[in-house]
C-alpha cells in the first residue's frame, strides 16, 4: 500500500491535475428543529425529541423555522453569497429507513443563496456554487456496529428534522491541502457567526468530496466520483489523495473512471465502491406542496447582515495591524472567536497587546495542557485576571518565574492574581534596602567572582546576580539586583 507522498506523485507522474469540489453539510444550532418544535440537541436519549411531524406520522405537516433561514442567510452573507429574492423547498423522494417520510424536504432548483466564496490563507479563492436548507435524517444503528452481517437495524429519530445547511463549492480546489484549508476557514467563519458547533466528530459538520483528474492544463472536467464517510479534516485530505491516486492509476492504464459514490475506509486507507446493484436514484424532485415559497424582505435581510460579527479574516488583519502581531500569531489568536475575544480583552486589561499575545500563546497554552484542558473556554480564568497577572509581572511586582506559577493556578481555578500572590507569598522583593543586604551578602560570599568580573569577565556578573536570586528564592526584582551590583562593583 502506498503512502500519501507517493500517491500524489502518481498524479504528477502522469501529468494529471486533481479537480476537487466539496459538499459540506452543517447542522444549524437552532433551539428547535427545521420543521417542528422538537428540541435540537446532540446526544440525547434515543427517540426522546420526536413528534408526529419529524416522525412523519400520517397527517403531519412541516412549518419552516425562521431562525434556520436567518442562520443560513447570515452564513451566506459571511461567505459573500447572494440571497435569492425567491426561494422554495422541494421534495427529494427516495426510500431509506432513517427518513421518516421516505422523502427529504430540501431545495432543488431555487436554493436560498448562490455564489460567494472562501479565500484560503494562500490567497486562492474557492468559489461557492450554492447554499441550501434541508432537514437531517435520523440515525441507523446496525447490530454489532457494522452494516454488513447484521440481521436488523435500529433507528433513532432524534436527529430527523434537524436543520441542515448544504454548502456546495465549485470544483476550484486543486489539492488535499487546499481542501483542508477550505474546511478550516469555513469552520472558523461559521463558528464565528455562531450558527453551528461545526464539530465533525459530533456530526454537526460533514463533508463529501467530488474528485476527478484531468490532464494538466486542460479545462474539460473528467469523470468524478463522490467520496463519503470521512470523519475529520485530515481524513478528508487522506481520502482525496487516495482517490486522486486511484483515478490516476486507472486512467494511466487506459481504463475509464466510473461515476459512482465511494466510501472511505480509514482503517484500510482506501476508497471502496458504494454502488449497489440497483440503478442510481431518481429523486423525482417536485415543489413541496405543504410549504409556501420564501421572498425575504429587504429590511430583514439588511438587519441580519448588520448583525454579523467581525469575520475571522478581517479580525486577523486587524490584529496584525492594530496590535502589531505577526501573521502567524494573528492566525493562532483568531482561530476561535472566543479566544480572539479573550485576547482583545486581555490586551486592553494590561494595555500591552504584545505581552498578552506572548502569554496566551506561551504560558497559558502550557498551563491549559497541564490542567488537562483543551480550550481556553473550559478554563475559569477571565481576561481581566490574566491582564492583571501580566501587569504584575510587567511592573516587577512578581518575577517571571512566580508569574508562571500564578498562571498555572489561574488557568486551573481562576481567581484574583493579587490574592494568589499574597496567599502564597509570591510577591517579588522590591525593597531596595532588603535587596541591598542580599547583594552585599552575595558579594561578600563570592570574592572570586567579584575579582573575575573586575578583571573583565562579564558572565561573572551574571553569576553574582544568580547568587542573589538564589538567596531571595527567586523573588528579588532582578532589575534592582543588577542595578545595585553595578553600583557596588562599577
Amino acid at each position: 500500500m502506498k503512502n500519501s507522498s507517493t500517491t500524489v506523485t502518481e498524479a504528477e507522474a502522469h501529468d494529471f491535475e486533481p479537480v476537487i469540489g466539496l459538499e459540506v453539510h452543517v447542522e444549524l444550532k437552532t433551539k428547535s428543529k427545521m420543521f417542528c418544535g422538537c428540541r435540537n440537541e446532540f446526544g440525547a436519549e434515543p427517540n426522546t425529541w420526536v413528534c408526529p411531524v419529524c416522525l412523519g406520522m400520517p397527517g403531519s405537516l412541516p412549518v419552516i423555522n425562521r431562525v434556520a433561514v436567518e442562520y443560513l442567510c447570515k452564513a451566506g452573507f459571511a461567505l459573500g453569497c447572494d440571497v435569492a429574492p425567491f426561494s422554495k423547498f422541494d421534495r427529494k423522494n427516495y426510500f431509506y429507513p432513517d427518513m421518516p417520510k421516505n422523502y427529504q424536504i430540501s431545495q432543488y432548483d431555487m436554493p436560498l443563496t448562490t455564489g460567494g466564496g472562501i479565500t484560503l490563507p494562500s490567497g486562492k479563492r474557492i468559489r461557492l456554487n450554492r447554499i441550501h436548507l434541508e432537514e437531517d435524517t435520523g440515525k441507523n444503528l446496525h447490530a454489532g456496529g457494522a452494516m454488513s452481517g447484521s440481521d436488523y437495524t435500529l433507528i433513532d429519530y432524534n436527529r430527523a428534522g434537524v436543520p441542515l445547511m448544504e454548502i456546495v463549492s465549485e470544483p476550484d480546489i486543486s489539492s488535499s491541502d487546499e481542501a483542508e484549508a477550505y474546511l478550516a476557514e469555513l469552520k472558523a467563519i461559521l463558528s464565528y457567526i455562531g450558527v453551528s458547533d461545526v464539530k465533525m466528530h459530533e456530526g454537526s459538520l460533514r463533508c463529501d468530496a467530488n474528485v476527478s483528474v484531468r490532464p494538466r492544463g486542460t479545462t474539460a472536467l473528467g469523470t468524478k466520483t463522490e467520496v463519503k464517510n470521512m470523519n475529520s479534516f485530515r481524513s478528508v485530505g487522506r481520502a482525496i489523495n487516495r482517490e486522486i491516486a486511484r483515478q490516476s492509476e486507472r486512467l494511466a492504464a487506459g481504463e475509464r473512471i466510473v461515476q459512482e459514490t465511494r466510501g472511505w475506509d480509514e482503517g484500510k486507507g482506501a476508497t471502496y465502491s458504494m454502488r449497489s446493484k440497483e440503478e442510481a436514484h431518481d429523486y423525482r424532485y417536485f415543489p413541496e406542496p405543504d410549504l409556501v415559497p420564501l421572498a425575504l424582505e429587504a429590511d430583514m435581510l439588511a438587519r441580519w447582515r448588520a448583525e454579523l460579527p467581525e469575520l475571522p479574516d478581517a479580525r486577523r488583519k486587524r490584529f496584525a495591524q492594530q496590535f502589531g502581531l505577526s501573521e502567524y500569531d494573528a492566525q493562532v489568536l483568531t482561530a476561535e472567536r472566543s479566544d480572539a475575544d479573550f485576547y482583545e480583552a486581555t490586551a486592553a486589561a494590561c494595555d500591552d497587546p504584545k505581552q498578552a499575545a506572548n502569554w496566551l500563546m506561551g504560558d497559558v497554552r502550557r498551563a491549559l495542557q497541564s490542567a488537562g484542558l483543551t480550550t481556553l473556554a473550559q478554563s475559569p480564568m477571565t481576561a481581566a485576571q490574566l491582564g492583571e497577572l501580566i501587569r504584575l509581572v510587567k511592573t516587577g511586582a512578581i518575577t517571571g518565574k512566580a508569574g508562571k506559577e500564578v498562571c498555572d493556578l489561574l488557568v486551573a481555578q481562576g481567581g484574583d492574581p493579587k490574592v494568589i500572590v499574597a496567599e502564597r507569598g509570591l510577591g517579588a522583593v522590591t525593597d531596595t534596602a532588603e535587596i541591598a543586604t542580599m547583594v552585599d551578602q552575595a558579594i561578600a560570599a563570592n570574592q572570586k567572582s567579584v575579582d573575575a568580573y573586575k578583571s573583565g569577565k562579564a558572565n561573572a556578573f551574571d553569576f553574582i546576580v544568580g547568587q542573589v536570586m538564589k538567596v531571595s528564592r527567586g523573588k528579588a526584582n532582578v532589575e534592582i539586583v543588577r542595578a545595585l551590583i553595578k553600583e557596588r562593583l562599577g
Binding site: 397527517g59 403531519s60 421518516p100 431518481d282 423525482r284 417536485f286 409556501v292
Partner: protein, 485 residues
Amino acid sequence: MLTGHEIRDRIARRETSALEVAKRSIDAVAASEPELRAYLTLTPEYALARAAEIDARIARGEDCGTLAGVPVAIKDLFCTQGVRTTSGSKILANFVPPYSATVVAKLEAAGAVMIGKTNMDEFAMGSSCENSGFHPTRNPWDPSRVPGGSSGGSASTVGARGVPIAVGTDTGGSIREPASFCNIVGVKPTYGRVSRYGMIAFASSLDQAGPMTADVRDAAIVLEAIAGHDPMDSTSVDVPVPHYADALREDLKGVKIGIVREFESSIGGDAAMSALYKEAYASLVRLGAELVEVSLPHAKYGLATYYLIAPAECSSNLARYDGARYGVRVDGDGDVYQMFERTRAAGFGPEVKRRIVLGTYALCSGYYDAYYVRAQKVRTLMKQDFDTAFAACDVIACPAVSCPPFALGAKSDPVAMYLMDYFTIPMSLAGIAAMSVPAGYVDGLPVGLQIAAPAFEEGRMLGVAHAYEQSTRFAWARAPKVGAA
C-alpha cells in the same frame, strides 16, 4: 332526526339533553349499520361520556359552543387521539394516533359529540367507497347502490340521519359527489380555508376538509367552527372567518348566476339529468336570480390534469407507509427494502397502487416536464377560466354529478370511475369554494346541484344554496329504505 342546529337549540332550551341525543344517535346508527356499514370505528362510550360532560357544563350555565351536544361523524382520515384511524386502508388497520387533527379539536371545542369514524375509499382515492380496504358502504336511498366517495361513510350516515352532521374531505369531488348521491349538503371550502393538520394526506395541493350536513344552515355552522388559520399548517390562510349563518338568504334578487356552457353541453346527453338541472336553474330564476352564460374552455382537460397532479403528490405522500414506524408490517425474509415492498403490496388496494404507479411515473426524470409540470400549467389555465367567469357572475351553478347513484360493482373500469369527477375537478384544481345541495331525483334517486364561488366567498355560496334549499325543500326528504326519524 332533526338538523344539527335544531338539536343544538333544543338542548340549549333544555327540551332534551345531549345524553338523550347521543343515545338516540348511537341507537339509530346501530340499527342501520348492518345494512349501510358506514362506519369503521364506533365510539359509543366516548360519545356518552362527552355528552354527559356537556350536559353538566350546560347545567352550570357554561357556553359549550355552536355545536353543543350535536352528534358528528368523522371521516376516518382525520387523526383522532387514542382512537384508531385508518384512512380506509389495511396498511393503517391498527394505527392509533397520539394526536388529533385540528378539525377534530375544533369540533370538540364547539361541543360536537363524535359518534364514530366513517368509512371511505382508501386514502381518499375513489368515488364510490368501493375502494375501502375493509368493506363498501351503502346508500341509504337504495342499499344496492353506492353512497359515492371518497367520503361515502360520512354521506351515508348523514343521509340516513344517524347523525345530522359529518366532516369529510374533498380533493376532486369527494364531498360533493357523495353529498349528491345521498341527498345531503356537502361543502368543499376554498383551499387553505380549513387546516389540513392531522388530516391524512392524499394530494396536498388539493385536499380540503368540509362539512357534510342535513341542511345548508348546518353546513354554515360547521364550516365556521372548523375554518381558520392554523400555525401547524403552512398552507392555511390567515383570513378572518365570517359568521356564515349571516349570509343565508331567502331569495336571489340581484344575484348573477353563471351557467357553464361546456357543462350544459356535457349533461345534455342525459335527458333526465338535463331536465333536473334545467328545473334547478328555473328555481333559481324564480327566486330572482339572473342567469348568465359563462365558459370554462379548459374544463375538459380537468381529468387528465387532476390525474397527473393528484397521483404525483400522493405517490410521495404515501411513501411513508412502509411498515417501519407505525401501521401494519408484513414480516418475511430479506432486507428492509423487501419488507417495504411486501408490506406495501399487501397493505395497499389496487386503486392506491395504480395511482402511486401513475404518480411516480409523472415525476420521473425525463417525464416530469411533459407530465407534472405541463399539468400544473394547464391548472393555471383552468384557474384563469374561473377568474374570467366570475367577472361576469357571482356564483356558478352546474351539475355536481353526471348520474344518480349507481349500483355497487357497476363501474369496474377505473377510468369510468374517474369520469365521475368531471364536474367537480375543475373547482378543486382552481382551489375555489364549491358545494352540492339536494336538487331532486332521477328514477327516485338523489341528485345534487353544484354551486361554486370565488375563493373565500363561502358566505355568498351558502347564501345562494340556502335560498334554493328553502324553496325546493329536497333536503327534508327522508331516505325511504333506512334511517331513524
